[in-house]
Symmetry: C2
Subunit: 134 residues, 2 copies
């Protein structure tokens, strides 16, 4: 964060990167796309507000999750990373069904199952996904 | 979208809801929180831009996925809905491991497995998750 190399955010916003810049630790000049995506999707002022409301040790994870969401939204403007959530939820349901069937087969032959088994549909209760594709 | 009941977006932004308002079909006055969250996280102008770049039939899904992301970010400012992705990925890996073990048990006793079985780690290749918690 020297005067010679402004962070990617200040470079993008064409402003001087001052000591203590809230973006500098998380947007190094070598990764210009990271800030460009975050700026396009969330806006610099929303991200500044969000980071200021967090404790310093939480900010790196927050920036990385925002960058992940922003990149997903740039790649898929309709679903963004919610597309990944839907896909993963379908995969969890399919795997749970297959596992239940395999465990039922093992039980049918009097064989104990290797895993304790977890109740299905935990995900639905935790995340309350909304129906996206009607 | 009559003059008597502006959509939730125009009400929030304190502006007149004109016929053809891009927000009106997706932000009914009965759901004020939906727009409030989307506005707080993405900003009204970013959402307007995004919707204008989509085809009309894509906009409802886009708004719903934005509302889902925004609500997740309001509830968890550090991880947002990326927390759900990490959780689901761990669940997929665990279920895949348990299923592999159950199928191995069935194969060990010469029993055919009820499911064809899918190669593991497909998710990692598709979504390229970044390590969020170091």
């Amino acid at each position: 964060n020297s005067y010679n190399s402004p962070c990617a955010a200040c470079k993008f916003l064409r402003r001087k990167c001052m000591p203590g810049c809230i973006f500098a630790p998380y947007f190094p000049p070598e990764e210009p796309h990271k800030f460009a995506n975050v700026h396009k999707i969330f806006g610099a002022s929303n991200v500044t507000k969000l980071l200021n409301e967090l404790l310093p040790h939480q900010r790196e994870d927050a920036v990385n999750s925002l960058a992940y969401e922003a990149e997903a939204r740039v790649r898929d403007p309709v679903y963004g990373c919610v597309g990944a959530i839907s896909y993963l939820q379908r995969q969890v349901h399919r795997l749970q069904k297959e596992l239940d069937a395999a465990n039922a087969d093992l039980a049918h032959y009097g064989l104990s199952t290797s895993a304790g088994g977890t109740p299905g549909n935990v995900v639905d209760l935790v995340f309350q996904p909304q129906p996206l594709q009607s």
